[in-house]
């Protein structure tokens, strides 16, 4: 049986969200409290297994007394705080952020973003046909996964997952500055010349599909990717004794990608190259 450590009991802080009193354990973020209170705040760069980077600014909310809006994903709740999640000011910033992203990045594979664009009445076309875009070609330099940086919103999650938050491989970093900033390995080399160990933990946290299994990338290109026809089966990796959980995504009796449950208390969604990509033998029918 897995025992989840409960930690020391935490004090409950009292504050208000949209005028309603809420109580949240000390140390929780505004976002935690919002979600516990059943309020939806959109997020893109926030990851359930990572320290918030608050780079996308789509989760901004108004806090009484604060000059600027604050990111719900990283600001810790304080007693007596008055948080408003749905003011005109917060909605305006979210709308603009969605417009800025959608006008410069390919968000076609970003879950939920289409709903938000509708909800906030964002019009990414308003910047005109000449608005600068990232204009990146997919980097297909290995057999396991593809880096399509035309879909990258620069959320830093892959860098954090590859670096000291999980994998400690440090194969990628943000390079360049401003609008020209891109995720890259050293000297912008192919992945095969880098420190990458192909654990795929960056794919696990990528919120936009910029990083994807080669199998998914190829099927999307061929038009055969069909999310609704896929089943997900969580099982245990058989390669070593750690016993990581694998979720096999299967379409037409073929494994098309592998993820891992983020709530697993041991691995938190992280795998190694074998668990993530070493499934070909399962479907080798010759």
């Amino acid at each position: 049986m897995t025992v989840t450590p409960l930690g020391i009991p935490r004090r409950l802080l009292e504050f208000t969200i949209d005028g309603e009193p809420v109580r949240a354990p000390e140390g929780s973020t505004i976002l935690d409290a919002c979600r516990a209170a059943g309020k939806d705040v959109p997020t893109l760069c926030q990851g359930d297994t990572l320290t918030p980077k608050n780079a996308c600014r789509v989760c901004v909310v108004e806090v009484e007394g604060s000059r600027t809006l604050v990111p719900a994903c990283s600001r810790r709740a304080e007693p007596g705080m008055e948080v408003r999640t749905d003011t005109e000011r917060a909605r305006h910033s979210r709308k603009i952020v969605l417009e800025l992203l959608a006008s410069s990045v390919d968000l076609s594979t970003t879950p939920q973003v289409a709903e938000w664009i509708k909800e906030y009445e964002a019009k990414p076309d308003r910047f005109g046909p000449d608005a600068a875009r990232l204009n990146e070609e997919p980097k297909v330099d290995n057999d396991l996964y593809v880096r399509d940086y035309d879909k990258c919103i620069l959320c830093y999650k892959c860098v954090d997952a590859c670096g000291d938050q999980w994998q400690n491989t440090f194969a990628i970093s943000v390079s360049g500055r401003g609008f020209d900033a891109r995720i890259a390995v050293e000297h912008d080399a192919p992945l095969t010349d880098s420190a990458c160990v192909y654990c795929g933990n960056c794919i696990e946290v990528c919120p936009t599909g910029a990083l994807s299994f080669k199998s998914e990338f190829d099927m999307r290109a061929a038009g055969t990717w069909d999310r609704s026809a896929q089943t997900e089966t969580t099982t245990v990796c058989a390669y070593c004794g750690v016993g990581c959980n694998l979720t096999l995504h299967v379409q037409d009796n073929e494994i098309v990608k592998v993820t891992s449950p983020h709530d697993n208390p041991v691995t938190h969604g992280n795998l190694c190259i074998k668990g993530r990509f070493g499934y070909q033998h399962v479907q080798n029918r010759d």
Partner: protein, 607 residues
């Protein structure tokens, strides 16, 4: 840390440049040839990783010697410091002064920013580029403000080698700039710093009293002009007494944010976490600002003494000066001053025989406006990309290396000297009730006597402009630099105080006062401001990274339009600008739209 390195090897020059900074490698773990001992003994670990903050000095060392940073050189530096190459690549590509692609050994930075643009930079650039084309051995780069606005237009030549050579040409002609780039050693010497102070010699000056009067290289001369009396008084008062004096004086930060200095010092001094650090923000990059450069070039020991006092008051034993990479003379003078002070026991283990230990290290910036943001500056010193951190936690609690840190601007620090020598009540009597003390203003543009002016808070804009000899046909005045705001020529009565400018709906910022006549079209200036912020955005948050690009595009579209033809784009600018102000992580994105907005609202640009 299990790092992966490529096969590229450094050249002998590159290796020598790094070794000159870090010393020879001790084992193959650090990049030396492998010996038998290396097979039995793993070195590195935490001790090596703790030197990460030497990454930026290391990149400078390579760039200074070779002119660019090759794969082999970067890999070798990473081995020496146990830094992942991808990380170091991210850092190297962050700064405008570094190149990871081959380029000529000499780079000529030609300023195309506001003051220089108004003084003919576009023509100068075209002339220089025609003379120094490909094959000339000089790479010509258009640069944001070089902080030489009183001598616009300006150019800075940097010739890599051992040692690196620099030459400033300002005011620059095509001839002079080409000479500076092709033979930096034989270029005429820069005029003394006092030339930037039209009031030099005026006995009423407080902060600029010594600029031009003392030999900036002589510690004895500094002491003969009243130097180190403030530090003696600080030791007599004790740390709490110094903080009380500074608090009572009403001193607020001069870098632009106007935060009460005494409160900042008190908050840091009372943190139980140790060690405490002192950081002097000398990364003066706001277009139109050059006051810190003049202080550091003309009176460097004043900053050394002021930092010693600040560190003593806040319990810090180590101070860093983060100095703009584009200020070679200020770097040289400050380094000399720190070395002299150390040799004479005014820095080191036992300052003035008082048993208090304090030392100063100078770190060079490498071309990034954002590193003037306090937390971005910490990241830059620590060897990371100069991206701002989210606050809270604030620097007084978790600053440099995660420790309680006081960060002050150069001008703020040198104000501490008169506070201690004349006493807080006398200091507070200068200026107005809420803005106390003397203030430095950087006046440039369409004036006869550009330079640094010292006036007590409360002087009006008109008085300052008259002192500087403002020219006819004034069209607009920019207060506070690119992050500040424009005012009309008829708003001469605005009192130059923090509260006065706020009431007038504008800002004092870092003290920039830039006058523009009608020779440069206003839309062209606004576009240059937008280009500046697009280039200088670090790219971390979406509102600033993409918002600055969208604003620049809109300003491009309406550069030649007015009235109804510009209305849609102005509405777009306002909407994007509002989100940038509300939702950006740091002050850069939050203020990037201020100047353009003020030009539309106050000056009626595009009407």
């Amino acid at each position: 840390m299990d790092l992966h390195f490529g096969d590229s090897k450094p050249t002998d020059d590159e290796r020598a440049a790094v070794d000159a900074l870090l010393g020879a490698p001790e084992s193959s773990w650090e990049g030396a040839d492998r010996s038998d001992a290396d097979l039995r003994w793993a070195r590195g670990g935490r001790e090596a990783r703790d030197r990460r903050d030497l990454l930026l000095p290391g990149l400078h060392a390579i760039n200074d010697r070779i002119g660019w940073i090759s794969e082999g050189a970067l890999d070798y530096l990473c081995r020496r410091l146990t830094v992942p190459p991808a990380d170091a690549y991210g850092v190297a590509t962050f700064y405008a002064m570094f190149s990871v692609k081959p380029r000529p050994a000499t780079v000529l930075h030609v300023c195309t920013d506001l003051a220089c643009a108004a003084a003919g930079a576009p023509g100068l650039c075209a002339g220089i580029e025609a003379r120094l084309g490909p094959g000339s051995g000089v790479s010509v780069e258009r640069s944001p403000c070089l902080g030489l606005c009183e001598r616009a237009p300006a150019a800075l030549a940097i010739k890599a080698g051992d040692p690196v050579r620099t030459a400033v040409s300002a005011p620059a002609t095509v001839e002079a700039a080409v000479l500076a780039a092709s033979a930096p050693d034989s270029a005429p010497e820069e005029p003394p710093a006092a030339m930037a102070v039209p009031q030099a010699g005026d006995p009423s000056l407080t902060l600029l009293r010594r600029v031009g009067a003392v030999d900036p290289s002589s510690l004895d001369d500094y002491r003969a002009h009243g130097g180190y009396t403030a530090l003696r008084r600080a030791f007599a008062l004790g740390p709490a007494g110094v903080i009380r004096e500074v608090t009572d004086s009403g001193l607020v930060g001069r870098g632009g944010a106007a935060f009460p200095t005494g409160r900042k010092w008190q908050a840091t001094a009372s943190q139980p976490d140790r060690p405490h650090y002192l950081v002097c923000n000398a990364d003066e990059s706001e277009p139109g600002t050059f006051k810190d450069r003049v202080i550091m070039e003309g009176d460097p020991y004043a900053l050394v003494e002021a930092m010693t006092i600040a560190a003593y008051a806040t319990g810090a034993h180590r101070g860093y000066v983060y100095l703009r990479g584009e200020y070679p003379r200020a770097i040289h003078r400050m380094q000399h001053a720190v070395d002299q002070a150390r040799a004479r026991g005014l820095l080191g283990d036992d300052v003035l025989g008082q048993g208090y230990a304090f030392d100063i290290e100078i770190r060079r910036g490498a071309g990034a406006y954002i590193c003037g943001e306090e937390t971005a500056l910490f990241n830059s010193i620590e060897g990371y990309r100069g991206e701002p951190r989210s606050k809270p936690p604030f620097p007084v609690e978790k600053g440099l290396f995660g420790r309680p840190t006081v960060e002050n601007n150069v001008e703020t620090l040198v104000n501490v000297l008169p506070i201690l020598t004349m006493g807080a009540p006398a200091y507070a009597a200068i200026g107005t009730g809420r803005s106390t003390g003397p203030k430095l203003f950087c006046v440039s543009g369409s004036v006869d006597r550009p330079g640094i002016y010292e006036l007590p808070f409360g002087a009006t804009l008109g008085e300052l402009l008259d002192a500087a000899g403002v020219r006819e046909r004034l069209r607009a005045v920019l207060l506070g630099g690119a992050a500040g705001g424009f005012v009309r020529p008829d708003e001469r009565d605005i009192p130059l105080t923090f509260e006065g400018t706020r009431e007038a709906g504008t800002t004092l910022g870092s003290g920039v006062v830039m006058a523009f006549d009608d020779t440069v079209p206003l839309p062209r200036l606004l576009l240059r401001i937008a280009e500046f912020f697009r280039d200088e955005s670090c790219g971390q948050c979406v509102p600033c990274r993409v918002g600055t690009v969208r604003q620049e595009e809109a300003l491009h579209r309406i550069a030649e339009r007015t009235g109804a033809a510009a209305a849609d784009d102005i509405a777009l600018l306002r909407e994007v600008g509002r989100a940038m102000r509300d939702a950006s992580i740091c002050g850069l994105g939050q203020t990037a739209w201020n100047a353009v907005e003020s030009a539309i609202d106050r000056l009626g640009a595009y009407e």
